[in-house]
């Protein structure tokens, strides 16, 4: 069955295409990307009208938490994939801090099987660097790679011991596995619940200084230099981190980095009123840090935008601020917040889409993120202008923990296609 996407503005950051084109799909693969494609028998094809919309390679979110196995009441692979599809993502990467931790091929196989049978988008698991995320002994990365992991990370926690982290990076290098670093010095962030700054002083809440992140960013950059293996810094939140990464890249050290939309949109003032939906790790920082993160995206220091989608239920969030869990969901709002950067002239549309397509694909060595003939037909079609108001009750995610509720944004997903099948809008 042929599927023809007509009249959309096709933007493929990998090839530099930015033109009004049609896209022809058949058998789950892209067949042609040309202006005004004419088929011998139009009635045999399904037509999707993309007038006024942007057509892009399926978006990739390389940092999510899907909570299955272990905390299925917060999110499952199935519900997370629905949230992803609604957010325009055709591929998502899920972190290893499940329960049990994804530190063995058995758990990896479980996740892959659940993804295969219940997910409507591509799901790629990340394996842990250390067993149980305890930072002591290395996991069987070779076995896990065979089972399907695309990278290793202890995300959720840091490997505190530099010696262990060095070995972890070297061992991952053996299997050509990307290493994703959650940078946090626990001895500095100890007991902190928000950014250490003026707002934390006003609220009497214990703070997490920017240095807690920056110390580990510096360390992991140096370990990349030492081992010769690239590291990818997750959820960059501070100006100091951006500075360190920019400097490292200039000196030729193999490092890439990502940030999440909340770090270029919100400041620590979102916590005022003790709003637990704004409690996240790394914490929301100051306006100066937001500016630096935006600049880091603009000048390429930060390669990727990833949601760090972290679902939590009322059990974890309707508590005193000190006791609430860290994390916010983001699959369904990432695109809109990213488009705001385009509207505010921080990024061009192509640059923005690059952070969500070809860059994460390249870092993870996935054959995705491109819109060329022969590639898998993972495609996102969105209207960049359409305004909407974020409504937590309308999220497809099982969890509702977003501080963006009520925010006016623009940019809605019209269609999400995975392997040529329209997965969003959902068939009712």
């Amino acid at each position: 069955m042929k599927l023809l996407i007509r009249n959309g503005r096709v933007i493929d950051p990998a090839t530099g295409i930015d033109a009004v084109c049609d896209v022809l799909i058949e058998g789950g693969t892209i067949r042609a990307v040309e202006p005004e494609i004419r088929l011998p028998d139009m009635s045999k094809a399904r037509l999707v009208d993309a007038t006024g919309c942007i057509v892009t390679p399926g978006l990739i979110d390389m940092h999510t938490h899907l909570r299955e196995p272990g905390h299925e009441y917060k999110e499952t692979i199935a519900s997370g994939s629905r949230a992803a599809a609604a957010g325009g993502f055709t591929s998502i990467v899920c972190m290893a801090n499940t329960q049990p931790v994804n530190d063995s091929a058995a758990v990896t196989r479980f996740i892959c099987e659940r993804a295969r049978t219940t997910a409507c988008v591509n799901v790629y698991p990340v394996g842990a660097i250390t067993v149980g995320l305890r930072g002591e002994t290395l996991t069987e990365m070779g076995d896990m790679k065979e089972a399907g992991i695309v990278a290793v990370s202890d995300d959720g926690v840091t490997v505190a011991d530099a010696g262990v982290m060095r070995r972890g990076i070297e061992y991952a290098r053996t299997f050509d596995l990307p290493v994703i670093c959650h940078c946090e010095d626990r001895t500095l962030s100890r007991n902190g619940v928000m950014h250490e700054g003026l707002t934390s002083v006003r609220l009497g809440l214990r703070g997490i200084p920017a240095a807690a992140e920056e110390i580990m960013v510096a360390r992991d950059i140096l370990l990349a230099g030492l081992t010769g293996h690239p590291v990818h810094i997750a959820h960059v939140s501070t100006a100091g981190s951006v500075h360190l990464i920019r400097d490292a890249k200039a000196r030729g050290i193999p490092v890439t980095a990502e940030t999440a939309p909340h770090y270029f949109t919100l400041t620590d003032e979102a916590v005022l009123g003790f709003n637990t939906d704004a409690k996240v790790n790394p914490p929301l920082r100051t306006a100066a840090d937001v500016t630096a993160v935006r600049e880091g995206l603009r000048d390429g220091t930060l390669d990727v935008i990833a949601s760090d989608h972290a679902p939590h239920s009322s059990l974890e969030k309707d508590l005193e601020f000190d006791n609430a869990a860290f994390g916010m969901i983001g699959l369904e709002t990432t695109l809109a917040l990213t488009l705001a950067l385009v509207r505010e002239n921080v990024l061009t549309m192509a640059q923005a889409l690059e952070k969500l397509t070809v860059n994460p694909a390249r870092i993870l060595r996935l054959p995705k993120g491109v819109l060329t003939p022969g590639a898998a037909a993972d495609i996102t079609i969105f209207d960049p202008q359409q305004p909407w108001t974020v409504d937590r009750n309308r999220f497809f995610s099982k969890s509702k923990n977003s501080p963006l509720h009520g925010l006016q944004v623009a940019g809605t997903v019209r269609h999400t296609l995975v392997a040529g099948t329209v997965v969003f809008p959902f068939a009712t």
Binding site: G204, L205, F274, E320
Partner: protein, 305 residues
């Protein structure tokens, strides 16, 4: 004028006019406490619940006496006897209490923002009697009342607050209040216990105590939690007392008409030497007396109609 609030969660929510109203009302309440029959029928039939998740004899007693002098029915719940121990959330505890229709809940809790959760959930008025390191508004109000009683005003006075500012809700509330009322505020203490952004609140950090108390009108000593020694905030009690405690020799650097305050309980020999503690210019007991009057004033203004 009125206090147009349902709750008192923090000094940050009050305007200078509202603070003046509370202090003026406290004056009238103080007179009630000096009578033979220390009772007026104003809050007759109102139910006041003291919900304390942190132990406290003096603050709770102060609120209890305040409520009873206004003829309210006062009930004390402390966390060891509540279902919190059984794992019930604060919100559920609140809803259970709400079902019994209280008029006012006075809450003290170790987590900042806990009273705000109750304020969102309940119809009853909420008074924050201390939420973690965030605020302790009634303490700041009674401190302000006491200062005004002794010095005649707040505006233009210099007040020095000494001690563990970072972890102190008394310090925070006092800083907010004194700044709103036009006082000049200095803080002193080891750098480990004075947050780096404190000057953005409009106060000056003076590390050396003898400089901090020079030419000041009021010295407010904060209680130090001795356990913080083990968390590397200060090396020893001996050093703390020598450098940041008030003794007679240290007070040589202060003016003769200075007054000394402390929210209590005092660590004798640490924040204040016994001689200073018993001196006439140390007005801790006035603070306690005024605490009842200020709390009566607040109860009246919040639920007295």
């Amino acid at each position: 004028m009125e206090l147009r609030h349902k709750n008192l969660l923090g000094i940050e929510d009050l305007s200078p006019e509202e603070i003046s109203l509370i202090l003026e009302t406290a004056s009238s309440m103080k007179e009630v406490s000096s009578r033979d029959i220390k009772k007026v029928p104003t809050l007759r039939g109102k139910t006041v619940i003291n919900l304390f998740f942190e132990p406290s004899t003096r603050t709770r007693t102060s609120f209890e006496i305040a409520g009873k002098r206004l003829s309210a029915d006062v009930i004390n719940i402390s966390s060891s006897s509540s279902s919190v121990v059984k794992g019930e959330t604060l919100e559920d505890t609140g809803k259970n209490l709400q079902a019994m229709n209280p008029d006012l809940i006075v809450v003290r809790h170790p987590s900042p923002g806990a009273p705000h959760i109750l304020a969102r959930t309940l119809n009853a008025s909420i008074i924050n009697a201390g939420d973690g390191a965030h605020e302790h508004p009634t303490q700041a109000l009674l401190d302000a009342y006491t200062i005004q009683e002794k010095k005649g005003k707040l505006q233009g006075l210099t007040v020095t607050i000494v001690g563990d500012i970072t972890h102190s809700r008394v310090a925070r509330s006092n800083i907010f209040l004194l700044k709103k009322m036009g006082a000049i505020v200095r803080v002193s203490g080891p750098r480990t216990m004075v947050p780096p952004f404190i000057e953005s609140l409009g106060v000056t950090y003076v590390p050396e105590l003898r400089e901090a108390i020079r030419d000041t009108d009021v010295i407010m000593m904060l209680r130090i939690q001795l356990e913080r020694q083990n968390q590397s905030f200060f090396p020893s009690i001996r050093e703390y007392a020598r450098c940041f405690g008030l003794s007679l020799p240290m007070l040589e650097h202060a003016r003769k008409d200075v007054v000394i305050m402390h929210p209590g309980p005092v660590n004798r020999g640490v924040e204040l030497s016994p001689e200073v503690l018993n001196a006439p210019y140390t007005i801790i007991l006035d603070q306690v007396a005024n605490g009842v009057a200020v709390r009566m004033a607040l109860m009246y203004l919040l639920i007295g109609r």
